[in-house]
Every structure is written in C-alpha cells, then in structure tokens.
Amino acid sequence: MNAVPRDCLPARAGLGLKPEHYSHVLEARPDIGFFEVHAENYMGAGGPPHLYLEAVAGLYPLSLHGVGLSIGAAGPLDATHLRRLRDLIDRYRPQSFSEHLAWSTHDTGFLNDLLPLPYTPETLARVSEHVDEAQQAIGRQLLLENPSTYLLFAESTIDEIDFLEAVAERTGCGLLLDVNNVMVSCVNHRLDPTAYIDRFPVERVGEIHLAGYDETVDGAGDRLLIDAHGSPVKTDVMALYELTLARTGPLPTLIEWDNDVPAFPTLHAEAVRVDALIAGQAVRRNVLKRAG
C-alpha cells in the first residue's frame, strides 16, 4: 500500500491562478489555501508568466496540473514534453503534481482534449508503464485524475475505480478525485455517483477537484452532463463533495474555473464556501474522536 504523503498541499480550498488575477493576488494576498496552474501554460522560455508564478509560489503552496502528457495514449510518451515537465518541477518544486487518465496526443498532432480510453488488461499495462515512466522522469509521485466521459467502450472489462486503483498499486502513484467528473460520468452512464464515491480508494487520494458542469440532452433525450469549468460548482456536486469529505477527511480541494473566468471575489467566495465544509468535517471528526 502506498499511502499518499499528506504533508504536501494544505487541507484547504485552492484556486486556479489566472493571468487576469496575478496583480490582485500579489497586492491583496487573499487568504487562499493554495494555487494551481496548468503546467503547459508555463512552458514558455520567459516573460510575465514566470515572473508572476515565482512571486505567487513564494507566498502560497503550489499545485502543478498537467493537461498534455497523454498518459492514456497507446503510443509512447513525448520525451520532450517529459523533459519540459521535469524542468518546470525542478524550477518551482510544487507541493503536488497531477495528470489525467486520458489521452490527447496522436500521430496527427495534439488533439487538445482529454479523450477516453477502454479499460482492459492491455490498456492497464500501458497506462501503468506511462505513469511509471513519468514518475521516474520527474523524480516524484504524481496524482492521477479520474476522467469525465461521455461514452463507454464495449471492450472494457475493468471497472474505472478498479483500473485507477490497479495503476496506483502498480506504480505507487496517488489519485486525484475530481468530484465533478464523478457526477458527470455517473449521470452520463446512469450510474450512482454516491456508490462511486463509496467505493473509491480514499486512502490514495491526495487532492480533490470541484468544478461546474453544463447540462444538455443527447439525441435520445437522455441527460448529458459536460465538464465545462465555466460556472460555480452545482448543488448536487457540492452535496457529493460533502459525502466525499466524510469518507476522506479534510483534503486539499481545488475549485476549477477555466472558462469565462469571473472577477476574483467570485472565486474567493467559492473558496470560502469550500473551506467551511473542510473545517466542518475536521470538527466533526474531533467530536467523534472525543465521543469515542
């Protein structure tokens, strides 16, 4: 068993760091548990992104979140991209590094989306090799995130949670539990999100993600949720998050809002709401301990 070290990011709400908020964050220094950035946005040679990230990383714990490694690709990992990641991690020494159980690179180029893969013994072996290779290259543990998906593969023989747990077991990686992705995938595939959370191997979880989804219907008129990151966390996801916290205990929790980014106070209010839930969970545990 490879328990995730818990001395990394603080068990608080964190926010994505957006260029439009750089100055405000450095001047006002809002009370936020940590900031997260997409690694690929900081792979330029120089300029304002690095200047601001260095300043912010000097004031707040930092989570680095990759969106382009394509761990779920059938083909090999991009060695150049792994080197870029290693350089970025060496430079900023983030408290956490995470990536996705998805693929995005193909021989036609970078497809700029997190695409789904079947869960079979063959894909499990490939993903485990890739996670292993990535961890060797960057010299640290990564957290692997559960995906949001819109369709399934007939050839899948392994349940998603079992797949994630097996990758973690084989490679020693941790898991990133995206509660919005759980809601999106479960609604899309008519599964029970509560049952998903109940079965998830929480002892391996190093970070939680929350976000807002969009809702539409498919051609058959069935509910179709889309992982959109452009609105507040929906009520049902927040309720599922509370259930999650009751199982995991307090954990670092990122609020993702990447499109139609609002003014900072709106993001800050979301963080305050999540911080209160985390603190409430900690207190409940204390009371239970005393009672026990």
Partner: protein, 256 residues
C-alpha cells in the same frame, strides 16, 4: 481490436466531422448516441478556435466574430497543434490567412495577424538584457561597420506595405482610434522587460533595421539604407534601435 488500432480509429473519427463513429463505442442505454461523440469533436474544435481568438483579438475585430470563427475553423481543421503547448498555437495562422480566399478583400489582414503572433511570441520569449550603447562605443568606425548584432530574443521586425502597426494600435482601446496615414510601416515588436512594446519605426530606418535583423553587418545595412534614402542618418537610426532594445548582443565572431 488492439489499443493502438482503436485509438487511431477514434482520432480519425474525431478529426472528420462527416466520418462514421468508430466501432466499439457504447452507452448506458446500449448503442452510443452520436451527440455524445460530438461532445469530443466540439471540445477539440472549440478549444482550438478559442485559443486563436485569444491570440488574434484585433484580427477578429477587423473581420467580425462570425467571419473569424469560420476562418479559425478552416485553419484548425488542417492545422492541429504540433505539441501540447497551446501558447504556440497559431504561429502560422497569418500565412493561412494570406491564402484564405474569403479574406482577400482585406490585404492588410495577414500583417496585422503577424503582428499579433509576434506579440505572443515576445510575451513568452526568453528574458534577456538589451544591448547597451556603451558596448558599441568602444569600437572604431571601421570595426563597427563589420559587426553583426543579435536581435533580442523577444524581437520580431515586420515590414508591411500597409500601416499594420497603426491598425493594430487603433484597435487597442474599446473606441476605435483614427489611422493618420495609410502608408507602409516597419514595426518592431519587442519585450525588453515585462511589457511587450509595439513600435512603428521611422520610414527611413526600415530597410536598415531589416538588414540588421537578417544578419547583415552595420556597414552593409547603412550603405543600402543610404542608397535607398540619401537623408538616412546612421547614428540616429542605430541609437534609435538600441533605445528600443531591438538587440541583445554582438555576434561573438565579430568581437576582436
């Protein structure tokens, strides 16, 4: 179907909107619904066209959102990012615009887009101290004439038969500013520190700057500029470019 074959089929179906859905997909209700696969097609498309709209904001204002979306869609269909670095995406979008038939009525459009592409490149370029005038002061006029200068890593020089810099500048505010003179411009985009600067060079300095950026010696560039424009002032032109931080150094081979 093995993993690689299945993924290849998925990618092909993703890239061609009229292609049939790949085999082996399913959903909770049985057969997969086309609307679900369309979410992935749409994500790829929207992600790329959004990245272009962010990088080429003035170009979008010049043609309108609807026209721009069509042009970006046509580009993205055949030009996928070569790496996960979306910050580089669209480097050759200006060249695509130059060959895009419906945009031919706006001949200045590719140069405005080139300026915007240069702006983002400058924003993410390596940081470097600009070449100080004092480093050149030590050379005799004869030695100076043999030197070639290294452009600043953030710098792009754009020679346009249109007022590309003035058009770009006119679209920086919410109110459209006037373009004073419709004339060719040589534009220097450079980031000496943290702010990206866009300068329209004096007309008589354009050829001189272009030859220096192309690796010509100071002597050869000055001679060509003088031949083109007898009032060309070598000292003023060089000091002007150095003041704008156009260069970062002297090529090593030139330094005695």
């Amino acid at each position: 179907m093995d993993f690689a074959t299945g993924q290849h089929a998925f990618a092909q179906a993703l890239l061609h909107a009229d292609a049939p859905l790949p085999l082996g997909l399913t959903g909770a209700g049985g057969a997969v619904d086309a609307a679900r696969f369309a979410v992935y097609r749409n994500n790829v498309h929207v992600g790329l066209t959004r990245a272009l709209a962010q990088r080429f904001g003035v170009t979008e204002r010049l043609v309108g959102a609807e026209f721009f979306a069509g042009m970006a869609r046509a580009y993205a269909q055949d030009h996928k990012p070569s790496s996960p670095l979306i910050i580089d995406y669209g480097d050759d979008f200006p060249d695509f615009i130059a060959g895009f038939e419906p945009a031919q009525t706006l001949p200045y459009l590719p140069d405005v887009a080139r300026l915007e592409a240069a702006w983002t490149r400058a924003y993410h370029a390596a940081d470097a101290a600009p070449l100080a005038f004092s480093r050149l002061a030590a050379f005799t006029p004869e030695a100076l004439a043999t030197l070639t200068l290294k452009p600043h890593p953030s710098a792009t020089l754009l020679r346009s038969p249109y007022p590309a810099g003035a058009i770009w500048a006119a679209h920086q505010g919410t109110e459209l500013a006037d373009i004073e003179a419709w004339q060719p411009e040589t534009v220097l985009v450079v980031r000496p520190e943290m702010a990206v600067n866009v300068h329209v060079l004096p007309a008589s300095d354009g050829l001189f700057a272009a030859l220096l950026f192309a690796g010509g010696t100071l002597g050869a560039a000055a001679e060509a500029a003088l031949t083109e424009e007898p009032t060309f002032d070598f000292g003023a032109a060089l000091v002007g470019l150095l003041t704008l931080s156009a260069f970062a150094g002297i090529h090593q081979g030139d330094v005695p």
